[in-house]
């Protein structure tokens, strides 16, 4: 009974989280709640506060205000309890360049108090599992960017953490390495690990995250499943007219299926129309029937579902001031 309730408790939970660096309000009342055993994506433009949020959750940075609990413990009062259960792979690889990969992992294992033997065993096991054993005894400064990232991820897995924070885990990786990391994350989540991931690649969030929070200027501006977010801006219907069809008639016909009050975009030269539609419930035959009954000849009709990129640009388009402000002298 108790266990069941415990499982329901969000593993990462923040309310009213604030953090200020000098003049920059990096976090401005961030709220979020991540259920156990899921992958949660944090999206946002540069300077939105994603890294700062992750650093607060990982007990590195102390919040100015708000309440934050990770794995059932307060990140300020019970930081030590939190640290025993989390793994972190930060935005920049946190490794000792002047040590070998194996030494890095062993030292981290020992600082997690695994004991010398377990630390060594765990290092060997992970190096083999993530196919880095061929380079394990080389100095990290001789590693490629992708190998570093991989080692950094492995280092965050040393204790088999219950909560894993990955800050842009695939930045700068080639497609194959990216897929490898995706597989790793999926396997960890399937195993019951709760993963919080920040990324600039929206397809990555689409692929991995069950829930997404879009962060801008230190607060969450939208949240939901990838599909819910896409529904915010909805689908569009694109129509290419036959030479003899009337643009005006077509526009009128399309208004019937348009989202509330939306007016079709008309491209007179290309003789195409495009209109946002209310919901995903529209099927292609329905659109074709609608046009057909209005007697309009069309060359091509398509329903275009939005990508997460479009959602992202729409949501953060107007107020992503954080980074731009700092560029203005």
């Amino acid at each position: 009974m108790l266990d069941v309730e415990k499982d329901r408790e969000p593993v990462i939970w923040a309310e009213g989280l604030t953090k200020r660096f000098g003049k920059v309000q990096a976090l401005d009342g961030l709220d979020l709640s991540v259920p156990a055993g899921t992958c949660y994506g944090l999206l946002g433009p540069n300077g939105a506060g994603k890294t700062t949020a992750v650093r607060v959750f990982a007990t590195i940075t102390r919040p100015d205000g708000g309440e934050v609990r990770v794995a059932g413990h307060d990140v300020v009062r019970d930081a030590r309890q939190v640290r025993r259960q989390i793994g972190l792979a930060g935005q920049h690889a946190a490794l000792d360049e002047e040590l070998t990969g194996r030494e890095n992992l062993q030292i981290i294992g020992r600082l997690f108090h695994l004991g010398r033997r377990t630390a060594r065993r765990q290092a060997d096991h992970l190096l083999e599992k993530y196919s880095l054993d061929h380079a394990a005894d080389r100095l990290v400064k001789t590693y490629s960017g992708g190998m570093r990232r991989r080692l950094d991820l492995i280092a965050s897995l040393i204790i088999s953490p219950t909560v894993l924070f990955l800050d842009e885990p695939t930045a700068g990786l080639d497609p194959r390495s990216r897929l490898q990391i995706w597989e790793t994350v999926r396997a960890l989540v399937a195993d019951g690990t709760t993963v919080m991931l920040t990324t600039q690649y929206l397809d990555e969030a689409d692929q991995l995250a069950a829930q997404i929070a879009v962060v801008d200027a230190g607060t969450v501006v939208a949240r939901g499943t990838p599909d819910e977010l896409k529904a915010i801006i909805g689908s569009r219907v694109d129509v290419a007219l036959a030479p003899e069809a009337s643009l005006a008639d077509s526009a009128l016909a399309l208004r019937a299926i348009a989202a509330d009050g939306a007016v079709p975009d008309v491209d007179e030269d290309g003789r195409t129309l495009s209109v946002p539609v209310a919901a995903d419930s529209f099927t292609l035959p329905a659109v074709v029937r609608q046009l057909d009954s209005a007697g309009i000849d069309v060359l091509d009709v398509g329903i275009r579902r939005p990508t997460l990129d479009e959602v992202f640009l729409t949501i953060t388009g107007n107020n992503s001031k954080a980074e731009h402000e700092s560029l203005v002298p």
Binding site: I60, R83, G90, L99, I108, I159, S160
Partner: protein, 272 residues
């Protein structure tokens, strides 16, 4: 669902963490044989350079060689400069992303400066032994027997350890290797305004006061006494010159008392 691996920890776990940090820092050295060789060559160069260049121009009372006068000074100077070199190493270390990872781990944060200074101390012992052996080869001797000689080495290591904590504080303040290297340059005059190379008796009075109260001078005077080397100051003496052993211990204790809490505080504090 898997449980995180972990072991029970005790208040003493922090010392284990310190030991791990020390091993980590020494492991890094293992991969840099060039630096090890440099650490070993510097003492030889210092003994030859100062012993022979200065030695040819400076005469010492009752016919003993300048090296006899110089060795205690060189040992102390090598120790202080070596200990301060922890400043650059620690500044570089603290600038690394890996410190962020350490901060997210259940280790004791205070173990970081303890481990760093412990690693520095190990290097210091090696340096001290090397320079002593080089001195012995070129004719320097400790004349009062083993126990006083060990006492002198103990004093040098105590001062060395204290100064390495000073380096840890400065290193954690600058967090940047270049600034640290600049700061290091300031150390040289601090060490030179002392009786390492020449007695303080002939200095202008303001400079002499500075040199007499420099803990380096106290340590050098104490070592000359304990080794039975020439150069004991005479006449109207400042307190540290008249009581060099307590002065060295006191100065080291004072440095530790101030710097250990400061360095620990710097690490306990959150990263900004």
């Amino acid at each position: 669902m898997t449980q995180p691996l972990q072991r029970k920890t005790t208040p003493l776990t922090g010392f284990g963490d310190g030991l791990t940090i020390m091993i980590r820092n020494l492991l890094k050295l293992k991969h840099k044989p060039g630096q090890i060789i440099a650490e070993l060559i510097v003492p030889v160069v210092m003994v030859l350079l100062f012993g022979y260049v200065f030695g040819s121009a400076i005469a010492i009372e009752n016919g003993s060689s300048y090296l006899e006068y110089l060795m205690p000074g060189l040992l102390v100077m090598g120790a202080v400069l070596g200990a301060l070199s922890s400043l650059t190493a620690i500044a570089r270390d603290n600038g690394l992303g890996v410190m962020d990872r350490f901060r997210s781990m259940p280790m004791e944060r205070w173990s970081v400066p303890f481990g760093q200074t412990a690693a520095t101390l190990v290097i210091g012992v090696v340096g001290l032994v090397t320079m002593s052996v080089v001195g012995l080869i070129f004719g320097w001797r400790a004349h009062n027997g083993l126990v006083p000689a060990l006492g002198a080495f103990g004093l040098i290591l105590l001062l060395y350890y204290a100064v390495s904590w000073l380096g840890a504080v400065l290193g954690s303040l600058v967090d940047n290797e270049e600034t640290a290297a600049r700061l290091m340059m300031l150390a040289l005059p601090l060490v030179m305004i002392s009786n390492v190379f020449v007695p303080t008796g002939g200095m202008p009075s303001a400079l002499r006061a500075l040199a007499d109260w420099n803990p380096v001078s106290a340590a050098v005077t104490a070592c000359r006494e304990l080794f039975g080397n020439p150069g004991a100051p005479s006449g109207d003496l400042a307190w540290p010159m008249a009581n060099p052993v307590p002065a060295t211990i006191g100065a080291s204790a004072l440095i530790l008392l101030v710097c250990v809490p400061l360095a620990v505080y710097r690490f306990q504090k959150e990263a900004s």
